[in-house]
């Protein structure tokens, strides 16, 4: 605080040297296991949009939970999050025969999912903490037909995904947009997007809206205390900003004597 000298004095030329060394070898570090990255579809998440959250909850709890669990969430906490009363929640969304305070588990026994997909289906509670909303949105909308896969489909952002295209009836089937690219550093044909192949029961705009709602809902489930954080954060941080100013003034008040007066006053020897 009261230090009037730079702790490094005058490093001058050697700073330049260190910086140029760093730049040179950063350039060299670029050669790595590159894969062609398909562009992600941008999406904005608005946790205030209760209608979207309810729609997302409806689709998630009626389609996704066939195979996926949301073990971190309970029906009761969801109803609070969606702004619905208990009876309203039970009527509109339902608890799949579970108790209202139960956690949300998949309808299908895990053994069947294992036998089908050869891999346990991931829990969706914190999926929005593992992936960005844009990634989730792109994932949900980018299944494409790939006869080489056991499920007949593949995904643009999740190569060789085990999940089948459960959205086919809604979205219709899609074909990939392939480019010559890299996969783990080796040349390969890489899908970077999809084009419609058949029609589903929803228009593309309707389906995008649905997928967006699902992502918003999953984001809300993954960030259960977002509103509390936003409400409390400014107060707590503000408190310490104010305290910083006050303690700075007190510090300066006390230290005025150290900075200005003779040394004699702090001679506190016996």
């Amino acid at each position: 605080m009261t230090n009037k000298k730079s702790p490094f004095g005058n490093p001058g030329a050697l700073l330049v040297l260190a910086a140029s060394l760093a730049l040179l070898s950063c350039g060299a570090a670029r050669a790595s296991v590159a894969s062609t990255q398909p562009p992600l579809k941008p999406i904005t998440v608005n946790l205030q949009d209760k209608a979207a959250l309810r729609n997302g909850a409806l689709y998630t709890l009626h389609m996704c939970t066939a195979c996926h669990s949301l073990q971190g969430a309970r029906y009761s906490t969801l109803s609070r999050m969606l702004g619905m009363r208990k009876d309203e929640f039970k009527q509109v969304i339902g608890t799949n025969g579970h108790h209202f305070h139960d956690t949300i588990t998949s309808s299908m026994p895990p053994a069947i999912i294992d036998a089908f997909a050869k891999i346990p289906s991931p829990d969706l509670t914190d999926i929005a903490l593992r992936h960005s909303p844009a990634w989730l949105f792109t994932y949900l909308t980018s299944f494409y037909v790939d006869p080489s896969r056991p499920t007949g489909v593949n995904n643009v952002v999740f190569h060789n995904v085990a999940m089948p295209d459960v959205f086919a009836p809604l979205q219709g089937l899609q074909k990939p947009v392939m480019v010559e690219g890299l996969r783990y550093g080796s040349p390969a044909k890489v899908a970077i997007g999809v084009e419609p192949l058949t029609r589903g029961s929803m228009t593309p705009a309707q389906f995008d809206r649905t997928a967006r709602d699902i992502v918003e809902f999953l984001y809300a489930v993954g960030h259960p205390h977002q509103q509390q954080r936003m409400r409390l954060g400014p107060w707590i941080i503000g408190l310490f900003v104010v305290l910083s100013i006050l303690t700075y003034l007190i510090y300066k008040l006390y230290w005025r004597r150290v900075d200005t007066s003779e040394e004699r006053w702090w001679r506190v020897g016996k």
Partner: protein, 477 residues
């Protein structure tokens, strides 16, 4: 009324004070403890680290109450029980997570402060050594705690580290099994890690910190000028450049604490996973023994060591190089023996070398943050050489060297670096092209350091005259 007019409270306090050295400790350690009057920004980090230690103990207490050390329950006891079901559990956990990283950041800055101002030099060598043990205990504490959420990165990180000992020939594997209590990381491992994390290590840390403080108050604080304040005392024995720790540094530290909490709580409320640096995204997946992640790496504070470990193309030597960094830290008082303590009065090249020490440490972290490609391994090896070199060249600066000595230093250092490289080439550790990309970095660094010392001797010369009194903070008398 009693005769000496002492109030009831005074008499009660007096009763205790006669039997416990309360007021005498208060006086000798706080109000009559002389601290140099010119502490700067770097001197906040020690007290802040102590604050974070207390905070980790307090938040950890509540987390331990709700945590289940069982592989079937651990993950959800953290992510549902603590994070969602218990009231304010999320806040306590996020404080604990951000606190762990804050602890390391503060300790690294605290250690670098000691290097900058020569605080490890006589008579504070033992103080520094105790500090190194605190760092090791802290590292163990962090590693043990990281397994507890039982996420993918927790699990595989622990699997990798407990496999270190298998590098020891013959007895390595039995020791690893004994350490884990199982052939893989499993329930016995989780149980013992939990007990060590919440009981053994905190106890050890507290004890070490106490010894650290006792040693500090015995030898007195160093300061940014590196001049012993006790060498210049007034007629009553009080250092002329010393001020009582309390209230002057307590009010100053309170200001530091407030600023620290502004940053700390910004992370807690708005960015608890710290862009994936404070808590890895992969840890939001429960541990799966059948599914090894594509890329296993530690949290940010261990990344530089991880780069060193990864850089050496042999497990045994890798672990030796990794452990060697701590030996280097511990040997610092033996390496840097110049009578001039503070960076303010050291030579330009010494300053550059100390700057390079920090830069190469960060640089190693940057490398380890990338994938474990062959390129990154070679790159890590060469920057590790630079990091080692920044320690091993320190004796060069202990005194004025003749031109002949400088040339010998240059030749010996270059020979050592190239010998390691020739060895790497000879055992075909990596592809030629990859080696050539980066193996000039340590060689060039040493060439520049000693070359400049030969051509411009002034750059390697410390200040010839040190001030008699502290130069900053307060009126210069």
């Amino acid at each position: 009324m009693n005769s000496n007019k002492r109030s009831m409270a005074h008499r009660v306090f007096g009763w205790f004070d006669d039997r416990l050295p309360i007021s005498s400790l208060w006086r000798s350690q706080l109000t009559r403890y002389p601290a140099p009057k010119n502490f700067n920004l770097w001197y906040f980090f020690g007290s802040l680290a102590m604050l974070v230690l207390v905070m980790q103990l307090a938040t950890g207490l509540f987390l331990a109450i709700h945590y289940q050390p069982n592989p079937h329950l651990a993950y959800w006891s953290v992510l549902r029980g603590i994070q969602r079901d218990s009231r304010w559990g999320w806040l306590i956990r996020d404080m604990h997570i951000v606190g762990a990283s804050a602890f390391f950041l503060l300790v690294y800055l605290h250690m670098y402060r000691a290097i900058l101002y020569g605080s490890f030099k006589k008579p504070r060598e033992l103080l520094w050594l105790i500090g190194i043990f605190i760092y090791l205990a802290l590292a163990a504490e962090a590693f043990l705690g990281y397994l507890l959420p039982w996420g993918q990165m927790s699990y595989w990180g622990s699997a990798v580290v407990t496999n270190f000992v298998t590098a020891v020939p013959v007895i390595g594997k039995p020791i690893a099994t004994w350490m884990r209590g199982s052939f893989v990381v499993d329930l016995p491992t989780l149980n013992r890690f939990f007990v060590f994390h919440v009981f053994l290590m905190p106890l050890l840390l507290l004890a070490l910190v106490l010894v650290h403080l006792i040693a500090l108050h015995h030898v007195g604080s160093n300061n940014p000028d590196g001049i012993e304040i006790h060498d210049n005392v007034n007629e009553s024995g009080w250092p002329r450049d010393g001020i009582p720790f309390h209230p002057y540094y307590t009010v100053k530290d309170l200001f530091g604490v407030s600023i620290f909490f502004v940053v700390f709580f910004w992370f807690v409320f708005y960015n608890p996973s710290g862009w994936g640096f404070l808590l890895d995204k992969l840890n939001y997946t429960p541990a799966n023994i059948l599914h090894t992640p594509a890329d296993i790496h530690p949290l940010w504070f261990f990344l530089p060591f991880y780069a060193i470990l990864r850089g050496v193309p042999n497990k045994m030597y890798g672990i030796m190089a990794f452990a060697g960094t701590f030996v280097l830290f511990a040997c610092l008082p033996l390496l840097d023996r110049s009578p001039v303590r503070s960076i303010r009065y050291r030579s330009v090249l010494w300053k550059a070398n100390i700057l390079m020490m920090a830069l190469s440490f960060l640089w190693l972290g940057y490398i380890a943050h990338g994938f474990a490609t062959e390129h990154n391994m070679v790159y890590g090896l060469h920057i590790a050489e630079v990091f080692y070199a920044t320690f091993l060249v320190l004796p060069f600066f202990n005194r004025q060297r003749s031109v002949r000595a400088k040339v010998i230093w240059l030749v010996a250092a270059e020979a050592l670096v190239w010998l390691i490289d020739v060895w790497m080439y000879s055992i075909h550790a990596h592809r030629w092209g990859l080696m050539l990309l980066t193996d000039w970095i340590p060689a060039l660094y040493l060439l520049l350091l000693f070359g400049l010392a030969i051509v411009f001797p002034g750059l390697a010369r410390d200040a010839q005259k040190l001030p008699q009194r502290l130069t900053a903070g307060g009126v210069f008398h």
